[in-house]
Symmetry: C2
């Protein structure tokens, strides 16, 4: 299998310009499926936005605007259902801290069908209780959906309970300034690994229903590019329910993406807007891809086959859940350009190219290697390839 | 881990008598969970017999008696819901032949949640049709439950479609003469691999509901001793529905069991009846086990640990489905006794002890080796160990 695919892996020494050449040898590639946030064609009755809509690339910092449940209070702080972002973050961190700790005291066991329908609930009065610490936020109740099932998923994804706890609870959560057009609030963990997103009641309900099928897909299709769900929670406070989902961060900053595409396999209105194209790092669409990358992207044969097979299996699952309007998020990291950038940025300029580009960890994003499974990639570090699926889309009834 | 458990594997050269010594070195062991057919404590409202009741060891050939739907016609042939056994066998063979063949033309794909709820249906007029051959039985309709899911299960169990077809459709089915007390009819394939059993509507419905959980257990606990279900079908004829399930044959004749126990972990009325004890190969119960095998059975440490872990996991699944009153079927094959028997039966008397005892295949029963997983057993052939779980029990609401 060293045929044309292998060409995609040869190490080009020259600093070829990026544009049409992103397809070539030395570009790292990130591929993923993301929710294409075409809020305009939203039809509430027939479709609903799926859980995995990502921060809108065209979004603006949300000051002053109220979109859906997301608003801004007098002090300029983001609110969600009138709960301040700081109170929400605090509740999430206290709640996850409790539920993960609580779970670790229970022995590991197989996941049963019933586990998908369990909801665990714990009350956090601000003055504290036997089980919970005192805090400075209003009283709240924290609910954990399907704790044992999500523990199993986290284990499958290789996330140790301590790491999950540490990333989510021991470091401040960073609110994203370009939230989605749906009115969700997004938080990122400081280590860039996890995204927390507020979801609507219907979305949380849908994710719960989806869990057995999600389980089945993970088992049969472990290289799936579908989003990685790590937890589903609800903060109840002041008569409001705020549901959040914890997911993997598809494009951790640690690998700079020189080109990003949101691909739907359609050519209808699939060109990035003028505004988007003016950005430093725009997310292009299908028509741009066809125009910029005339020869497409070259992958070695094994990787190509594995990727296509994985996409087919993922699409079957999405179809079975009547989820549509998802897209493939594709990121291209150009090794030569990265090297030039490093030099221009006055880095130490180490010439040892074998050294991994990234010092930070990016554990839970899906690298190309894991798509392809049993190796076949040469020069793993140099040709670091990320393939992640970050969203699903809307749902057609 | 060569401790006491290893003793259970040492090859004793002497022909020690069986009785209390079954526990010792040279006895092969068969363990399984079977449905304990205590028809007496049946309480239709609160419990229901589960699908996996096995041919009653105390049953008599059913001539003349009508039990449940099972009867005997004027010619002495068994009937089920007034359908003759020969017509039922014919319909099953035609139906399975069609459905497996039909399935093999469809490409393999992942099992989806929906697949558990699919029922495929095909009409077999006696004069034949475009799709079905002519036959000598009354017209019937054949339904296949969850065809894609069961295909996946068969694949997990290592059953190739051709083998399944051949065993079930190309050789005559043998009706068992000692059917269960519940009124089921049992057929065995000639190669001794598969058992076909009629099940009641409620049982079939229950098995269908159980499939997602069954799937989960097979994935997480692949060494499970729970019954292997290979297919669920329904023959509709003359306004009657006859549902049958295809399962593994837990105790294929190929390995003669010198001792059999049906164990529930209870001592209440758990002694084999006088009538049972008078048989050549009785199935004993808990109290007999305690009396006959004072030191219990010796297993090597690894096998013991793996077996206990598997039983715990299986019990968790049974409990989660509110199934109770199941039992562990334990068979002991004594190597020395088998050798003496072979010599007495005037076989060639080959002294090559490395030769497998069995020439026939017994592919789909669960051998001890598969419980223990990663080896650790020495002298595999000589110490052939079978561990199978053949039933579940009743269901408590």
């Amino acid at each position: 299998m060293e045929a044309e695919g292998a060409v995609g892996l040869s190490e080009a020494g020259d600093g070829s310009p990026l544009s049409g050449d992103a397809a070539s040898d030395d570009g790292d590639t990130v591929v993923g499926v993301s929710y294409g946030m075409d809020a305009g064609d939203m039809d509430a009755a027939a479709r609903k936005a799926f859980i995995t809509e990502m921060p809108s690339s065209s979004g603006q910092p949300g000051q002053g605007k109220k979109i859906g449940h997301r608003g801004v209070d007098a002090s300029g702080e983001t609110t969600y259902k009138k709960t301040t972002s700081s109170a929400l973050k605090g509740a999430i961190q206290l709640g996850i801290g409790y539920t993960v700790g609580n779970l670790s005291s229970k022995p590991e066991r197989d996941v049963l069908m019933q586990d998908f329908y369990v909801v665990e609930s714990i009350f956090f009065p601000s003055e504290g209780s036997n089980l919970t610490p005192a805090h400075h936020f209003p009283d709240f109740r924290f609910k954990t959906y399907a704790p044992v099932a999500f523990r199993y998923f986290r284990e499958l994804f290789g996330i140790r309970p301590d790491d999950y706890l540490y990333s989510l609870c021991n470091e401040p959560l960073i609110e994203l300034s370009n939230p989605g057009a749906s009115g969700s609030v997004f938080y990122l963990t400081r280590d860039d690994e996890f995204i927390i997103k507020t979801v609507m009641h219907k979305e949380a309900e849908f994710l719960q229903k989806l869990l057995p099928g999600y389980y089945m897909n993970l088992n049969q299709n472990p290289r799936t590019l579908l989003p990685k769900f790590f937890g589903l929670y609800c903060v109840q406070s002041g008569g409001k329910n705020i549901r959040v989902v914890v997911m993997n961060n598809v494009l951790p900053r640690v690998v700079r993406m020189h080109l990003k595409y949101d691909l739907k396999g359609s050519t209808y209105k699939r060109r990035a807007s003028k505004k988007e194209r003016e950005k430093a790092r725009p997310t292009f669409k299908d028509l741009d891809f066809m125009q910029n990358l005339l020869e497409g992207l070259m992958l070695d044969q094994d990787t190509y086959n594995a990727l296509v097979k994985t996409l087919q299996r993922d699409c079957l699952v999405l179809e079975s859940f009547k989820i549509m309007d998802y897209s493939l998020l594709l990121g291209v990291h150009n090794m030569d350009q990265a090297e030039r950038e490093r030099q221009m940025e006055g880095s130490q300029g180490e010439s040892d190219e074998k050294r991994p580009v990234a010092q930070q960890k990016a554990l839970y994003s899906t690298a190309m290697e894991s798509i392809q499974g049993g190796g076949g990639l040469r020069g793993e570090h140099r040709h670091r390839r990320h393939v992640s699926q970050r969203g699903c889309g809307k749902r057609a009834e």
